[in-house]
């Protein structure tokens, strides 16, 4: 430890530490991971807050994400413009929310946004079908997929409007104790 790093100012590092669930050391480690993705693009000096975005293709090639069927949605949700290209802030935010210290409500909020493929604020039947297809790599028949979606809506839709709102989703997450351990990326 100690103050030998020259990447961030002391205040910046403290701000990151206070606003994410990471300690100083972990933030530095994450920065070097980010920098390794695009060494020519990312400067080693962030004291002047450069505006650098690592393109989505490099993010999705990270070993933690490359076999994740939802990696595109994850990158889109956490990126600034919803296109998957991430700044360092987005990168830290993403791993902070997916770390094991993030509380359930925060994770549920972002999980909802990830599964909401058309970004309309609701998980409708189409979003569900996309989710199930990605989960099973398209190996379930169309009939089975629609049956599964129907049962999901039956179980989770509280006000019976044919789609899941954020509250329905959070209610369902409350009943799923595994959520905290599965919605977790170790880095």
């Amino acid at each position: 430890m100690g103050n030998k790093q020259t990447v961030f100012t002391h205040e910046q590092l403290e701000a990151y530490q206070d606003c994410t669930f990471f300690t100083r050391k972990e933030i530095m480690r994450l920065f070097y991971r980010y920098q390794d993705l695009a060494p020519q693009l990312v400067p080693l000096d962030y004291t002047s807050c450069p505006d650098v975005k690592v393109p989505y293709e490099l993010i999705s090639s990270m070993p933690e994400l490359k076999d994740n069927p939802f990696r595109q949605r994850i990158a889109q949700v956490f990126s600034e413009d919803g296109d998957g290209h991430m700044t360092l802030d987005n990168f830290l935010d993403m791993f902070s929310v997916m770390s094991e210290m993030a509380p359930r409500d925060l994770k549920a909020y972002y999980a909802f946004k990830i599964y909401d493929f058309n970004n309309d604020g609701y998980i409708c039947a189409w979003d569900l079908e996309q989710t199930v297809t990605k989960l099973t790599r398209g190996e379930l028949s169309a009939e089975e997929v629609s049956l599964v979606c129907e049962k999901v809506l039956d179980e989770a839709d509280g006000d019976h409007d044919g789609r899941l709102s954020l509250e329905d989703f959070q209610n369902m997450i409350l009943r799923a104790p595994d959520f905290l351990s599965t919605f977790h990326i170790r880095i």
């Binding site: 606003c19 179980e155 019976h160």
Partner: protein, 803 residues
């Protein structure tokens, strides 16, 4: 309950801005990053048709039907833009999704936080990101504040919170990191300014500054400790690899191992500090007779060279160490020893073991209740499809092959669920059910019979060992009983697994629970017989010798042999089985048996707890054993096994593991300890309780001495006489505890009922909403049709004119 809300609905008269691109969302309310997407979406929806068109609504006049589909903007947009505008400005569409709404919602939360007198529980403050209409009146409150104003107010509220709480709130906000940093920056600058202004005013703000400084110092200390702990926490990379390759379920075994390491370290520290260290510093006079030479057998039997060391009970003296010098009666000089604190060894022994157990108990109960609280919920009904779809993908899995295995698992699970649902519609015949019950009963009978048989075998063998006493030359024979126990412990679970193949359970998770139950019964019964053998029979047989040493050594032997047999089992069970199954049977790699391995860990921990009284260094041996076990199991796992194919509820399982650790395991050890301390006569030739009737008497002797010491410490004897020796307080406390438990049960029942009522209410509200929207839709459709007709009529009139 609710105040009547007056709906002021401002509906635009005619859709004059009925342009070619009806954008259904108010631009200023939408999250910036999704604006583009929504634009594109609405264009696409307007130009092409929608695949959702097939969901034609049922007759909207029957609000009682189960699923009413919503006629929303998904329907063809050619008509009723006005409806769309109204729908777009519905509070549920705008609140909770936009940044401004989140900011204002958090502003309201922090206001409530600040106004509370006691320290608020942040977790209890509103769960959903959607505030109630009463708190945030977007359309209804004519004096709606702008986003900027709300943000400023939020910043001001954040300053009112102490630093640690402010950070906690900031971290939990679902905003972007840049946004959080600017909020933090603003709240700090304003605090600094305020502090600067107030600093000239006197003493009271000085206390505030001091408090802030203390909190900041504690906060940075806490963070430093946390990062230090993270550095100390070993195996971060190893755990990441295991999780990446095998998923959360197998990882839970290794995390449990880590937890046990922590428990043992916690147990060892007071023992090392107060017993082993002190006695090693003041060794007792050397025992008569030659010290036996060190042969390798000591490592297995624990006897021989190790007998008269700090490892066992017999080494500890029964006097007060470092006592101030009392000159002998014949007037001689007393040798000048170091004058330090007198250390009453028997008392220290009793208290240290007691306190160590108490701390372990508190930690166990706390972690069990915490884990229980996380995994069980009031009124949690089966939502298994939803949970499978949303929560079953383990994001920790990073390897391609493991990822594919996960895909397969989830697909299989979904297919099983669908099949089960279809099967449930065909109820099983009475004959089939009876047959299943019969098979179940038979298998249980066989398993219990096996457990009984093993117990009888252990009992008979132990009686045999008593009848043929072992001389010092044949120390190897001491290993016979532990070997038999270990063989039975290893062999019977395999038998159980074969028997379990006969019965067919409906749910695979139930199979796992049943297997755990049977193995647990076997192990606990065998341990029970051994405890009876030690405290009941051995005490009588070894009357003049040091029976405590013997019991300590037996437990040491059991632990070491258990470790060796686990090694052998890993070698043969996993490595050789993998070679056989790959070469000969052409099947896949064997699965990692999580339940069996965890029960092994619990068994080993029980042995440690049983033996702490008789061998204070046993936790150290357990720590070494756990460390070796981690690396061995990890290597074997990576080389030989695959992840379990059954769906595994990882968090339920870890709750079950910790509960099993607490209830049969720790409770049994505590009962054994209490019995040994209160009822059994300690041996008269060795140990710190040589001259007493029971070990507990050391405490009584001390209390009596305190009584004579004077009135200044008289409250200790008083507590002892009226609260500990007296049985009435015990009954009172038990009765109170029962009352509290009963009250809690009633509260939970009431909560469940309230939840049921609220769910019904939500469902009714949903139906009302759909009904109203459909009515609105039809009203506007009629209006537009009328407007269209008048337009046509006008056009026709104009044509006629020109013509």
């Amino acid at each position: 309950m609710a105040q009547p809300l007056t709906f002021v609905l401002s509906v635009p008269e005619t859709p004059e801005d009925h342009g070619p691109e009806p954008s259904p969302y108010d631009e200023s309310e939408v999250h910036d990053s999704f604006y583009q997407l929504i634009q594109e979406q609405s264009q696409w929806v307007a130009e092409e048709g929608l695949e959702l068109q097939q969901r034609e609504p049922g007759p909207p006049e029957t609000p009682g039907s189960g699923h009413q589909t919503l006629l929303g903007p998904e329907d063809p947009l050619v008509h009723s833009t006005a409806t769309l505008r109204i729908l777009a400005s519905m509070p549920s569409r705008t609140i909770g999704r936009s940044r401004g709404a989140i900011i204002s919602q958090y502003y309201n939360r922090t206001v409530r936080l600040r106004r509370r007198v006691s320290r608020p529980e942040l977790r209890g403050v509103g769960r959903s990101a959607r505030p109630s209409l009463r708190l945030y009146d977007l359309e209804l409150d004519p004096v709606a504040l702008e986003e900027e104003e709300k943000r400023f107010l939020l910043v001001k509220e954040l300053q009112g919170l102490p630093v640690a709480q402010r950070d906690h709130v900031l971290r939990g906000m679902p905003l972007g990191l840049a946004e959080k940093r600017s909020l933090r920056e603003e709240s700090r600058t304003l605090t600094r300014k305020r502090r600067g202004r107030r600093g000239r005013r006197g003493l009271l703000p000085c206390c505030g500054r001091l408090r802030d400084a203390c909190v900041l110092a504690l906060h940075s200390l806490g963070l430093g400790l946390l990062s230090g702990l993270h550095a100390l926490m070993p195996w971060r990379y190893a755990l990441k690899r295991i999780g990446g390759q095998f998923g959360s379920s197998v990882l839970s075994y290794f995390l449990f191992l880590k937890t046990l390491l922590a428990f043992n370290a916690l147990l060892l520290l007071p023992l090392l500090a107060f017993l082993v260290g002190v006695q090693a510093a003041f060794p007792p006079p050397a025992s008569p007779g030659a010290v036996p030479a060190f042969t390798g057998l000591e490592l297995l039997t624990g006897a021989g060279r190790f007998t008269h060391t700090v490892m066992y009970y017999g080494y500890y003296s029964n006097t007060t160490l470092n006592q101030p010098c009392v000159p002998p009666l014949d007037g001689g000089q007393c040798s000048r020893e170091a004058d330090g604190l007198p250390y009453n060894m028997p008392l220290a022994y009793l208290f240290t073991v007691g306190v160590a157990f108490f701390i372990t108990c508190i930690t166990l109960v706390y972690s069990m209740s915490h884990s229980f609280g996380e995994s069980y919920r009031v009124g949690s009904t089966a939502g298994v499809h939803a949970v499978t779809v949303f929560c079953s993908w383990d994001h920790k899995v990073t390897q391609k092959r493991a990822s594919r295995v996960q895909h397969d698992n989830i697909r299989t699970h979904l297919k099983e669920l669908l099949a089960e649902w279809q099967l449930r519609q065909v109820p099983r015949s009475l004959c089939g059910r009876l047959r299943q019950v019969a098979v179940l009963g038979l298998v249980w009978l066989l398993c219990l019979g096996t457990a009984l048989g093993c117990t009888v075998a252990v009992y008979a063998f132990s009686e045999l060992m008593i009848k043929s006493p072992v001389s010092t030359e044949q120390e190897g024979a001491l290993l016979a009983l532990p070997t038999v126990v270990c063989v039975l412990n290893l062999g019977a679970p395999y038998l159980y697994r074969c028997l379990a193949a006969l019965e067919r359970h409906d749910s695979p998770v139930l199979e796992v629970y049943v297997a755990i139950c049977r193995n647990l019964i076997l192990k606990m019964v065998i341990l029970g017989i051994l405890c009876y053998h030690w405290l009941g029979r051995r005490v009588g047989v070894l009357k003049e010798q040091c029976w405590e040493n013997f019991v300590g050594q037996e437990l040491y032997r059991l632990m070491v042999l258990d470790f060796i047999f686990v090694l052998l089992d890993t070698l043969f069970g996993e490595l050789v089985w993998r070679l056989i199954s790959e070469k000969k049977l052409k099947r896949e790699k064997p699965e990692f048996d999580i339940a069996g391995n965890v029960l092994e860990l619990i068994y080993g921990q029980t042995l440690t707890w049983l033996g702490v009284l008789f061998s204070p260094l046993l936790p150290a041996i357990q720590i070494i054993k756990l460390l070796c076990l981690f690396y061995i199991k990890k290597t074997s796992l990576m080389a030989n096994c695959q992840a379990p194919r059954r769906p595994w509820l990882a968090s339920h399982m870890s709750t079950v593991f910790v509960s099993l650790l607490c209830f049969p395991s720790f409770l049994g050890a505590a009962v054994f300890l209490c019995y040994a301390v209160w009822q059994v006569r300690p041996s008269s030739t060795c140990g710190p309780f040589r001259t007493l009737d029971t070990m507990y008497e050391a405490g009584k002797v001390w209390v009596r001495r305190l009584e004579q010491a004077g009135p200044s410490v008289s409250w200790v004897p008083w507590i002892h006489r009226y609260l500990v020796e007296n049985t009435f307080p015990v009954y009172l406390v038990s009765a109170l505890l029962l009352a509290v438990i009963y009250l809690n049960i009633q509260v939970v029942k009431g909560q469940r009922r309230v939840m049921y009522l609220l769910k019904e209410q939500i469902s009714n509200e949903g139906e009302d909403k759909i009904f109203l929207i459909n009515k609105l839709h039809s009203v506007y459709e009629r209006k537009e049709r009328r407007a269209g007709r008048t337009q046509e009529a006008e056009q026709l009139a104009g044509d006629l004119d020109t013509w």
